[in-house]
């Protein structure tokens, strides 16, 4: 019934708009309820599926992301944090989607490029660079942050080519293992390059990292809004994330339909045939690595500015697999799939599992008895929030067995990772 409703433009628009409004009010009324916020997110999903004129849909999306979400973020700061994290992972998933989904090169060390981007701003946007060059020229002026968004692209793309060059000859699972090794090498380097010259400050990490400048403080004051950094920064970072995600989606869509995207898909389907048709394998594969990496690089810069602190713990193999799980859940090679997958997995980890943890804690503290078993005796080590790996693992196994093409499959089926034929 709902499907029939969503297929007709007018009722669909009304339904989605009503749901969005209702859930927004719901969150405003009960800011601490994760379930209500989940319903709000569900309405956003319905918005995607509902059939309505493109202009209406665009307006509704703009209102939801541009007004409703920031509004909810000011009510409960944690929801803003979730939205920012979702954005970061969407951009990462879209980047990995190019390498794995389009070009068919399974990259298990993707987080390395994220790390490269994050460290590039972390080192120069904090006093850390003084340890390398001497003097006291650093941290750089906050304005440099915007330059570093592009420096991150360049450095990560360079790292992508550096990884791509030696592995060009490898295929399939061997390629996967080498990229895994590369990811680990980058992490171990970050962990140990605090001597002989202190580049990364080792496991202690780098802090404080500069944040982007609030250049719009004066107009805000003129409008009578207090530019308090604690309030402004979450909204500001959210806006930046939206911009980057928007640029990423745009770049992905343009790439997918360009001759480059077609060349990637040709390589994925059949490398030999692609070469015979005149696709320059070396250049296209390197381009895939560089493009995929560059998105991770720029989000890395943003990530380090958001966290004010980076250390190697943020760039483990688990993160690479997390991003992989996102695009596999959504559907490899599919842009809406990557976005949906990233959102679902991030929300699951940050919101649902955390919520379960809090709920268990409350039960434990309340000490209610169920069937003669006092819940106060629940083991304290039992924390659902810590079981991200189990989530990733289940997603990977179940999707591979039951739906390898993902929830929102790409238009063109493919052989390397999809069904034969």
């Amino acid at each position: 019934m709902i499907k029939a409703l969503l297929d007709r433009p007018l009722p669909a628009t009304a339904l989605v708009a009503a749901l969005l409004a209702a859930t927004t009010l719901g969150v405003a009324w009960n800011p601490r309820s994760i379930v209500v916020f989940l319903l709000f997110q569900g309405s956003m999903l319905l918005l995607y599926f509902a059939r309505m004129p493109a202009r209406v849909k665009g307006t509704l999306t703009l209102i939801t992301l541009g007004i409703l979400m920031p509004f909810l973020g000011t009510i409960n700061a944690y929801y803003m944090e979730i939205a920012i994290q979702v954005g970061i992972f969407v951009a990462l998933a879209l980047g990995l989607n190019i390498v794995v989904g389009l070009a068919g090169l399974l990259d298990l060390g993707y987080v390395a490029f994220f790390a490269v981007g994050a460290y590039s701003w972390a080192i120069f946007g904090s006093p850390q660079a003084n340890q390398i060059f001497g003097g006291a020229y650093f941290p750089l002026n906050p304005w440099w942050f915007f330059v570093f968004l592009f420096v991150g692209v360049a450095v990560a793309a360079g790292a992508g080519i550096l990884l791509g060059l030696p592995v060009l000859r490898l295929h399939g699972d061997y390629l996967a293992l080498v990229t895994l090794g590369f990811g680990e090498v980058i992490r171990v380097l970050a962990n140990n390059l605090d001597k002989p010259i202190n580049f990364t400050n080792g496991p202690k990490g780098i802090t404080p990292i500069g944040r982007p400048p609030i250049f719009f403080a004066a107009p805000l004051e003129a409008l009578g809004i207090d530019p308090n950094p604690n309030v402004i920064y979450p909204l500001y970072l959210y806006a930046l994330v939206l911009l980057i995600v928007g640029a990423t989606v745009l770049a992905n869509r343009r790439l997918e339909d360009s001759h480059i995207g077609r060349a990637w898909e040709a390589i994925r389907e059949d490398q030999t045939a692609a070469q015979a048709m005149g696709v320059p394998l070396v250049r296209m594969k390197l381009l895939a690595f560089a493009c995929g990496a560059s998105f991770a690089g720029t989000v890395g810069v943003l990530f380090s500015a958001k966290q004010i602190f980076v250390n190697p713990e943020s760039f483990t193999f688990m993160e690479s697999i997390g991003v992989l799980a996102m695009i596999i859940l959504g559907g490899m090679g599919s842009i809406p799939g990557a976005i949906l997958g990233a959102a679902v997995v991030t929300i699951l980890n940050l919101q649902i599992l955390k919520g379960l943890s809090l709920w268990l804690n409350e039960l434990r503290n309340a000490g209610i008895e169920i069937f003669g078993y006092s819940l106060a005796n629940l083991p304290t080590q039992l924390e659902p929030a810590k079981y991200e790996r189990m989530v990733f693992g289940l997603i990977l196994v179940l999707m591979m067995i039951f739906r390898p093409q993902g929830i929102l499959p790409a238009k063109r089926r493919h052989r390397e990772l999809g069904e034969d034929g």
Binding site: L106, L108, P166, V167, R169, L170, H171, G172, D173, Y174, A176, L177, V178, L180, G181, F182, E184, V185, V188, L189, N191, N192, K195, P196, D270, F317, M318, I321, L324, A325, I328, P379, T380, Q381, L382, K386, Y387, E388, R389, M390, F392, G393, L394, I395, L396, V397, L398, M400, I401, P404, R415, E416, L417, G418, D420
Partner: protein, 323 residues
């Protein structure tokens, strides 16, 4: 003076390298046997390995709390623990194959690999969940046994702990057992036949599915045994401990030539020795600039270099390419 230190620690480093090497060899067998029959990297093997270590620690802790640990002969205790670890790990490996790999056997190559990564992650947290519920702690320490901590002095500077000897002897027995099984028995012949050509093997009346299960059982058992020995040797384990040794054992398997059983043994030993020497000599040779913490990079670099320049490994045949 430096040279004196370098020579002085040599025998100790050699011994450490051999122990590490046997450990890698035992784990590498699981990777290489499965690759031999299915051409598939069983990514979850590192967790099969650490499950063995957890079975071992659970049994030892139970014995300890029952007060049996000091009464029972230590050889018997070790034997029980080793066999239990092998049985459980082998069984888990078979179950994993049935549920997560068999439905994907005809799928394109990357599909089972991704599934295996998923299994690996799932098992890590499954162990954690179990231990959290059972003991409310998932960082476990092997109980000490006095006999195992004894040391033989070979010379003034070099001594060997009983523990290390036990590990070496147990590893040798397991490797010898596997070698005999694969080369001298009918079952072994069937395994080799399936690895050579599945279709032909099944025409010869071999039940291919059973042999594949058996391969997982044997490989898993070797891994589980290695897990117990790992726990005895290094004491501290947690659900995530298995990952790095697993990856290095895979490196060892590739180094020796993946799919090749003697190759895995050789690769394990070579990698163990290289790593032990890198860990102790790197810092001495570079004046402390690069220390033992780079030994992981060292192993991964070997993996990357081997895969790029000699993917068939030291003893391997050319790996066939499959779409």
């Amino acid at each position: 003076m430096d040279l004196e230190i370098l020579i002085g620690i040599f025998p100790q480093v050699l011994l450490d390298g051999i122990i590490l090497g046997f450990m890698y060899a035992l784990i590498a067998l699981g990777y290489t046997m499965v690759y031999g029959v299915l051409e598939f990297i069983n990514f979850a093997h590192s967790e099969i390995f650490i499950i063995g270590a957890f079975v071992g620690v659970e049994i030892l802790l139970t014995f300890k709390s029952a007060g049996w640990l000091d009464v029972m002969p230590w050889v018997l205790v070790l034997l029980i623990v080793l066999v239990a670890g092998m049985v459980v790990s082998g069984t888990v490996a078979v179950v994993v194959e049935r549920t997560a790999y068999r439905p994907l056997r005809s799928a394109p190559r990357l599909i089972p690999l991704i599934s295996a990564i998923g299994v690996s992650f799932f098992l890590q947290d499954a162990i954690r969940l179990f231990e959290s519920l059972w003991r409310n702690s998932f960082n476990l320490v092997y109980p000490t046994m006095d006999v195992l901590n004894g040391r033989f002095e070979l010379t003034e500077t070099i001594d060997v702990s009983v523990k290390s000897l036990v590990v070496i002897v147990a590893a040798l027995v397991m490797l010898w057992g596997l070698h005999t099984l694969v080369n001298r028995t009918k079952v072994g012949k069937a395994i080799r036949a399936v690895a050579e050509d599945q279709a032909a093997a099944s025409l010869m009346g071999i039940n291919v599915n059973r042999i594949i299960s058996l391969t997982f059982l044997i490989g898993g058992a070797m891994g589980g045994g290695a897990g117990v020995l790992f726990g005895v040797q290094y004491s501290l384990i947690n659900p995530y401990t298995g990952f790095i040794p697993g990856l290095k054992a895979f490196t060892a398997a590739v180094l020796g030539g993946i799919g090749n059983i003697p190759g895995a043994m050789l690769g394990g030993l070579v990698l163990g020795l290289l790593e032990a020497f890198a860990a102790s000599y790197l810092s001495l040779l570079t004046g402390g600039a690069f220390g033992a913490e780079y030994k992981d990079i060292f192993a991964f670099s070997i993996l990357i270099l081997i895969l790029i320049f000699r993917p068939k490994g030291l003893l391997g045949e050319v790996v066939r390419e499959r779409a």
